[in-house]
Symmetry: C2
Subunit: 432 residues, 2 copies
Amino acid sequence: MYDRLKGFRDFYPEEMGSRRQVFDAMEDTAARYGFREIATPTLERTQMYVDKSGEEIVDELYAFEDKGGREVTLTPELTPTVARMFVAKQQELSKPVKWVSTRPFWRYEQVQQGRFREFYQTNVDIFGSSEPEADAEILAFAADTLRGLGMTADDFEFRVSHRDILSGLLDAFDADVDTRNAIRAVDKRAKIDEMEYIGLLEDAGLSDLQAQQFDDLITTGDLDAIADFGDEDLTAAVDNLRNVLSAAEDFGAGDVCTLSLTTARGLDYYTGVVFECFDTTGEVSRAVFGGGRYDDLIEDFGGQPTPAVGVALGDATLQLLLQRADAWPDEALQTDYYVLTVGDTRETAARVARDLRERGNVVETDVSGRSFGAQMGYADSVNAETVVIVGEQDLENDEVTVKDMVSGEQTTAPVDAFPGEFDAPTYDDFAE
Amino acid sequence: MYDRLKGFRDFYPEEMGSRRQVFDAMEDTAARYGFREIATPTLERTQMYVDKSGEEIVDELYAFEDKGGREVTLTPELTPTVARMFVAKQQELSKPVKWVSTRPFWRYEQVQQGRFREFYQTNVDIFGSSEPEADAEILAFAADTLRGLGMTADDFEFRVSHRDILSGLLDAFDADVDTRNAIRAVDKRAKIDEMEYIGLLEDAGLSDLQAQQFDDLITTGDLDAIADFGDEDLTAAVDNLRNVLSAAEDFGAGDVCTLSLTTARGLDYYTGVVFECFDTTGEVSRAVFGGGRYDDLIEDFGGQPTPAVGVALGDATLQLLLQRADAWPDEALQTDYYVLTVGDTRETAARVARDLRERGNVVETDVSGRSFGAQMGYADSVNAETVVIVGEQDLENDEVTVKDMVSGEQTTAPVDAFPGEFDAPTYDDFAE
């Protein structure tokens, strides 16, 4: 017997059925917003990730040398791949480009609750618009997705921040501050104690007093005071954040957006608005997912300068939130009909099954030559709603038996009229 | 600029839209037959493939050592993984187990037309039934899938064969023949010349005369003559093949099944009925896909003996067949509405877009702050069927403009009644 690799998951039908409903909800919402599905390779050159994040990233990747001597990596995230794809066809693509895809990614890291070595993400990105409406459309898509899954503003909130406000403020305190490390400190703020946090800001170049003042400003989130504090770039960033929040309001996501300048996002490539989704109850203690603007990446990848904004919804934390909100879809098989054969009735039973399937129903029938009781037991195990019994005796009367599996009631129906005019015939359609 | 790895593919929206329609057709058909979706890991232990196919298989795999020192492989096919999953939960699973999944697989091999290093397969399997109805259900599923994609018996045929007939015949000629190598020779028959083929049969232990006689029997496909030729096992195999073809007839796949004992399938693990799908015109010159029965694999994987039968449809050859039959879905974006804003009308335009999306439509709107002309050009590029123009002047009259993008005709509609009672309002609904 072989074992499954640690951090990898097998999904059996019941659980997969629930996951599929969640993926479908995300993809249907994305489709209605005009995001277009793409599909991307599982392997990319390792250099693409090293250039973006430094040599040390390789320790966290499934990186190896292929049989042709290429250094390749199981993709740990989608953004570099879509940047590569965008650059490859930049001229011919009609802008804005709006892409969506759902697929697995891989990181070699410690396995813990809600974190696996193979995980799934739905990535949604817009390339080619720097307008606040693009950021707002990403927020509105994410909000609609969660609403479509049965959650409300009581369940989740988007904490919205702005990288240029954080960096502009830091610059205003001290032009020599290490902005990147200071923003990383902000990203860790909720996970470490205050001493350590202030210490990280000091390491980045702020004095103790400056660090306290900086933290006061981002904690209160007083945008007027912040705009007054810095130069025109900071004012522009404040305006941009206000415009995005206003557009999000128009786009129907206002009720779930909260200004939160202590939100920073870990990844270095963000440039403008960033946001993270949180469980309002706090029971799911870390960010459920996040996204933001990354206006420099396409140029870094050798393309024409192109603004971009996106969000990535991961399967594991989203499942934690849905389960907390009691909105995780039921893990149960669904079957419309089981067509049960008794005796030598295969030809008629197969015709009935085929006709029901043609009408779009989920239909199982016997493929194991089993007894009446064994077939009934199986029909029950797959939660068949209706069992159609095609028995030799019934057929002598040109009838089949229709049994409602919830009530247990059964009646007969003329075999030639089954399913006949009905798309989804039930016991009620034939009961006297 | 980074390049894509050789043998890997990027799928942009137009092509992906067509692929999605094909995948959906397969998955919808599978769902209607009661096959249940599963999802499986991208990596498995290399040993699983070595045990099954020998050490030399590693040369064709993306195999490497992970950071924890495990020898792992990018899965080259699904069957070993589903066998592992079945064995892991064999006791609790309700039989027959019917599973389906669509995902990529990887082989390090020469890239050529219709063959890539990363390819996609839809795998459909039944575990737990040795009855002919199980084989027939696989054939019927595959036939319905191709019909659902718009093809008919004029476009494709399933060449149905039986491993036990081939091996039983070989045994009848000479009990010491190397059955495995002789069957591999049959699998190569159509691709090599006759001399070489007969030579391979001789290498496997048949005399020249026996090889000729064997080939005559499998070419004519006279099942009575074959049954007479061997022992009761051969007779049983002939009966089984007849029963499968008869069940396939009842299940509606009779018209696409052809007896073809020169079909053998390359993989060693098949045990009973095997089949391959071919283009009837011969334009696609190799098998489009294939499947069959593999009753020994679960036991080989440490499980209780369990019969199994399945089919795997690969994306690349299926695309070749669909294109040959002129049944490949149109590679074009589809958009129901573009909501165009002119002036300061974002709030109303967003409300209109949201209402249309809630009714299930694909709706894009401006996120780039563009001019009327630029928005019209974009609406055209995404094939919007209807453009709803939300202009400042129209709004002063409480109206929007509804433009049919095919005819170019336009009319106005009351903004409060749009979309109002309509799920998918068009120009015609408002034209006088």
